[in-house]
């Protein structure tokens, strides 16, 4: 068996282990160590086992991971969800379908601060869906808009997935963050458009609601100033060159803690919950990084990335066709795998292919994370579909899935736009200080 075939077999075996319930990190680590052992003997396997747990976590640039996780967890516990929903609602609620658009907008802002798609859906679902139901909104529209809106947090910076992509491919995390801003806003706008079009076609889905006065709007804005300042400080600080991503993450973590403290929501139990949630999330991410590191040792030894590049060179496929195939591969894989596992498992051999085709790695990263987002709302295992249903047990899975198609179409349109017009991603990073 050639090295590349062994690499492919290893990739397949990892998918099989994952399918049989092995945690992704453990599956990657086991196959990585086993494969490396097969190729280099016990001493080789011993070397990677003795160094990866240190080397995979030691780099200073990795400090952003737990600090952004802390920022997200504390921000999520600062009682922001209701205030954000009220603020966006005061501006957009009067449009027909406006409450659903409000849900998407609030999810985008909350997700940006919190950085977790599932936490965004769980939190905003509890606030927004009952409000929509109270105003006579259709269950499929209300639940699907929140499930879709929750995905925006995966892309809008600060995003843990972008950090991980940046670390895997040695791409500037600051540039990735800034590059994700316009695609994230585009995503929110397209979701809003999907809602408006759907409601135009079926007005009974969303009755109209009265317009809020400027007094109400200003009062709502005052309640969320802290979030706005924190977001502006973290992302603006990176853009203006005040902070490195690690420093921005530290400022964000401390800022979110102070906001949570000032909100009065940070009780002793809430603090304990936040600390343990940070522990669980960051522990999961770090161990998956170790698993990916072990898997990558094996993958590099097999020469699979090089063989893929040679195969594509010899195939005569244009770069656009290769990109389309990669995106299709991610969409299919995203139906069965979570975004982070998918990125950790595939980027090590697809990023060299992208680099060999002279793709800009910031642009490619945004495309990969965008397509990974789609996986969060595609049946059968789109995680957001399950989480949104869990927030409102009276909703059936069928109701949620019935409403999700327009949002998947909006995502596909966004993906095509981002692929066709790289400037949408690369214009802002080009203006960075």
């Amino acid at each position: 068996m050639s090295g590349a075939m062994l690499g492919l077999a290893g990739f397949g075996l990892t998918l099989v282990l994952i399918a049989f319930g092995f945690p992704v990190a453990v599956a990657m680590a086991l196959v990585g160590v086993g494969g490396f052992w097969w190729l280099n003997g016990v001493m080789g396997a011993g070397f990677i086992l003795g160094s990866s747990p240190f080397e995979a976590i030691f780099p200073y640039s990795l400090s952003v991971v737990p600090l952004f996780v802390m920022m997200g967890v504390f921000a999520a516990r600062a009682g922001l969800s209701r205030s954000l929903f009220d603020m966006v609602n005061s501006f957009l609620g009067h449009v027909r379908g406006g409450l659903a658009v409000t849900g998407v907008g609030a999810c985008a802002i909350f997700g940006a601060i919190c950085g977790s798609s599932l936490a965004t859906v769980a939190t905003m679902g509890r606030v927004a869906i009952p409000e929509m139901q109270k105003r006579g909104y259709d269950g499929s529209l209300s639940s699907a808009s929140i499930a879709a809106g929750g995905t925006l947090g995966v892309l809008i910076p600060p995003s843990i997935l972008l950090v991980i992509y940046g670390l895997l491919t040695q791409t500037s995390i600051g540039q990735l963050f800034i590059g994700a801003i316009l695609p994230g806003i585009l995503g929110a706008l397209l979701y809003g458009l999907a809602i408006v079009v759907r409601v135009r076609m079926a007005p009974h889905l969303a009755p109209s609601t009265p317009r809020a006065g400027w007094g109400v709007r200003l009062a709502a804005l005052r309640r969320v100033w802290g979030v706005v300042v924190l977001f502006a400080l973290v992302i603006g600080g990176i853009y203006l060159g005040w902070f490195s991503p690690t420093e921005a993450a530290a400022v964000g973590a401390v800022g979110a803690f102070v906001l949570a403290l000032l909100s009065g929501e940070l009780t002793r139990d809430a603090l304990r919950g936040a600390v343990l949630e940070t522990a669980g999330l960051s522990g999961m991410i770090f161990f998956i990084l170790i698993g990916a590191s072990l898997f990558n040792y094996f993958l590099e030894t097999t020469g699979l990335p090089r063989a893929l590049i040679d195969g594509i060179d010899g195939s005569g496929l244009s770069p656009a066709m290769v990109l389309a195939l990669i995106m299709l591969f991610y969409i299919i894989l995203g139906c069965f795998m979570d975004a982070m596992s998918m990125i950790l498992l595939t980027v090590p051999f697809l990023a060299p292919v992208a680099a060999s085709l002279d793709f800009d790695m910031v642009w490619f990263g945004i495309l990969v994370v965008t397509v990974a987002e789609i996986g969060l709302i595609t049946p059968p295992i789109g995680m957001n579909l399950f989480v949104v249903q869990a927030t409102q047990p009276e909703l059936t899975q069928r109701t949620v899935i019935r409403g999700i198609l327009p949002f998947i179409l909006a995502d596909v349109v966004r993906l095509v736009l981002l692929a066709a017009i790289p400037a949408l991603t690369l214009w802002l990073p080009g203006k960075m200080f």
Partner: protein
Amino acid sequence: MNYLIAGLRSLVTLSAVTGVAAYAAAALLTVADVIGRQLGHAVPGVVDLVQLFVLGGAWLVIPYAFMTGAHVGVDLLVESLPRRLTGVMRGVAGLAAMALLAMMLYFCHATFQQQMMFGDRSQQLGIPIFYYWLPLLFGIGLSIVGVALGLTPSRQPVPSTEASP
């Protein structure tokens, strides 16, 4: 036996809290350095210290992620299997994770001893490498316990993580 399990659960949880405290220390040091730089008083060796706190913190929280089953996986196929078979699959995955961690502990200990022999230190402050490896070795050992506890039915509900990124 129940006391032992409860004690070990508390140890893993305490380790997690300590790990998050280490992250908080890293965040505060970084913020102090950012502010200090504006005033002409940067924190000396901030990179060394942040690396120490994050590496140590990471390995102190990993056992908790194992104990609470926070690691991401795909349950689609497993959930459709008969209950008994699902239990077997989870047990096999747990045993494989324990074997992997045991091998990791063995080889990391060897690397640690080698680095101690060479007297390795951090670049800026010259912190002995011992301080970086101690939480790592402790964390790997405790992770084996964490996996075992994750396979043990819990009498008290453990606060679960709410989401993944």
